[in-house]
């Protein structure tokens, strides 16, 4: 049940009305109903793993309480370890098991030993990457004394199964979400209307930009062997825009739906297209994941390696990004993607430009020439690596790269598609970029509360709705739902 479906619309309207009109008496009833709604939502996607998410919630709920209680340091460490094994073990099994077996077999076949281990037909439980990370951060934060465990199981179970963010994030921390679950939510008119704007903008990015880009990227990536290099560059560009608008659009919708129910969920994208270097890019891209990795992977690593100076920092960055890559899926392409992202940081670390005061894009209308060059450069670097995201094997990605580096780079791009689709897609990409540039210091692209003329606001909404209805691309499943 993706957000941009009639089914979800029907589900959410019913849920919204019941939540605010009937199950609104007190905090307990609100939470119970919210939890019920989350499980209904989960079952609608796939009921098979409901027991898994409930079991995992129960284990982590109890561990949280016991970790907090145990005075004995050893016992405490043991309980934390148990939680990590449970969470990461589940991820490893469901997400990475077959990958490891395959890698194992091919490693042995290199030295002429043929193993016959069967891989299992494992289906990835929906949202497991997201809810596992919530649970792990909860336990680690209790262990480090940042938070106290909740003793209300409904609250904890709702935190884990928080349905607007269950399938594709943002990955909220207990510290920000649990206190919100502990208080009775009150309907706020201006929050709700702004939430609607955010949903509308997210929907536009998802169904107009991302889905139309998908048509273009598919046409290019499926025929990359026969197309001129300039088209392949366009393919990488379209795909970079596609994953950005797909994922940030979906995050906008998730945040909007949460806000409609009275929750404030963490921001997931902060207009990364306008990042001026790679470090800034990763502070603006999939923020809830990168900040999670920073807190629980990068910081401990860089602490351990801190005596080795710059090489220690580089090593921590590389490990951190390889793991970020691997989080996206069990394939060598994702590992290489992460590794390359980490490598992009090396010049920054070596030059010491990493920490230099960043030139803030001012509030002026246009970026300066230097700013523009830095943004374009950063985007190009990212664009080149997302080819790995779209390829099935590293070999395929490399033959794509090889095809880009050829003389036909200078010839006119040729994309085997209807002219109208190409033009419409490019026009809307440009419109999205301009709007997001103008709105770059706002919470989301359509935060237009400052426009006081309500007629103008209304015409903007109708225009976007009309654009969505008229130009919505082919239905493409949401890329991130399988992660």
């Amino acid at each position: 049940m993706v957000f941009n479906s009639l089914k979800f619309a029907a589900f959410f309207v019913v849920f919204f009305l019941l939540y605010w009109l009937i199950f609104n008496r007190n905090n307990k009833i609100q939470n119970l109903f919210f939890l019920l709604g989350s499980y209904v939502f989960y079952c609608w996607w796939d009921w098979r793993f409901l027991a898994l998410i409930i079991g995992s919630s129960l284990v982590n709920y109890l561990l949280g309480i016991y970790i907090d209680k145990s005075e004995n340091e050893k016992r405490r460490k043991f309980l934390v370890l148990l939680g990590l094994i449970q969470g990461l073990g589940g991820l490893l099994f469901f997400k990475y098991f077959n990958f490891f077996i395959d890698t194992f077999i091919s490693a042995f076949s290199l030295i002429n030993i043929n193993l016959s281990i069967h891989t299992l037909n494992i289906i990835l439980p929906l949202g497991i990457s997201f809810y596992t990370f919530r649970a792990i951060s909860y336990l680690l934060d209790i262990d480090s004394g940042k938070i106290k465990p909740t003793t209300d199981w409904v609250i904890f179970f709702s935190y884990i199964a928080f349905f607007p963010c269950l399938t594709a994030g943002p990955i909220d921390r207990a510290k920000s979400l649990i206190p919100q679950l502990e208080k009775k939510r009150v309907f706020d008119y201006s929050h709700a209307t702004d939430a609607m704007r955010q949903i509308l903008w997210g929907l536009f990015k998802k169904v107009v930009i991302a889905d139309n880009c998908a048509t273009c990227t598919n046409a290019i990536f499926e025929n990359y062997k026969t197309l001129p290099a300039s088209s392949l560059l366009f393919g990488a560009f379209y795909f970079a825009i596609q994953i950005y608008s797909d994922f940030s659009g979906y995050s906008d919708m998730a945040i909007g739906f949460s806000r409609l129910l009275g929750f404030n969920v963490t921001k997931n994208f902060n207009f990364p297209i306008f990042a001026q270097n790679i470090s800034e890019f990763w502070q603006k891209w999939h923020i809830s994941l990168t900040s999670w990795m920073t807190d629980y992977v990068f910081t401990p690593l860089s602490f351990i390696f801190r005596t080795s100076g710059k090489s220690g920092l580089i090593l921590s960055i590389l490990i951190n990004f390889i793991l970020i890559g691997l989080w996206h899926g069990s394939n060598w392409t994702f590992i290489l993607f992460g590794f390359l992202q980490g490598c992009y940081f090396i010049p920054l670390v070596l030059n010491g430009t990493l920490n230099r005061k960043r030139v803030k894009e001012g509030t002026h209308l246009l970026p300066s020439f230097n700013e523009f060059l830095r943004m374009a450069g950063t985007f190009t670097l990212v664009m080149l690596t997302v080819v790995l995201f779209r390829s099935e094997t590293i070999g395929q990605a490399f033959s794509y790269y090889q095809a880009i580096i050829s003389t036909s780079l200078l010839s006119a791009p040729k994309i085997p598609l209807d002219k109208a689709v190409k033009i419409v897609t490019i026009i809307f990409i440009i419109i999205m970029i301009i709007v997001e540039w103008l709105q770059r210091d706002k919470e989301h692209g359509l935060d237009i509360e400052n426009i006081k003329n309500s007629f103008l606001r209304l015409s903007i909404y109708y225009t976007i709705i009309a654009v969505i209805l008229i130009f919505a691309g082919q239905k493409v499943t949401f890329i991130y739902a399988q992660f």
């Binding site: 480090s144 004394g145 940042k146 470090s279 502070q283 920073t294 990068f298 910081t299 401990p300 860089s302 602490f303 801190r306 005596t307 100076g309 920092l313 921590s316 960055i317 670390v349 010491g352 990493l354 920490n355 230099r356 005061k357 960043r358």
Partner: protein, 89 residues
């Protein structure tokens, strides 16, 4: 060591790592208020502070830091401990 003295020296370390002088050091100052103080430069600062005061932090101590005030308190605590328990004891 005097708390104010620590504050001054910490400020010098910040400026030399961040190459940035446009912030006033105060107890409430957090990473959000200072340009360039992010997760990457944070550990460089920590290492420099350790070197400068000849102390060793624990990861757990660092996790609890919320602002510069906390950091200065931690440095003060560690330098005191060092006086009471000199190396080798």
């Amino acid at each position: 060591m005097e708390r104010n003295e620590i504050k001054k020296e910490v400020k010098i370390i910040f400026v030399s790592v961040l190459k940035n002088n446009n912030f006033e050091i105060s107890d409430e100052l957090t990473a959000n208020d200072v340009d360039g103080w992010d997760s990457l430069s944070h550990m460089v600062i920590v290492t420099e502070v350790e070197k400068h005061f000849d102390i060793k932090f624990k990861l757990k101590d660092l996790n609890k830091l919320n602002n510069i005030g906390n950091l200065i308190d931690l440095v003060a605590l560690k330098t005191e401990q060092k006086l009471i328990l000199p190396d080798g004891l």
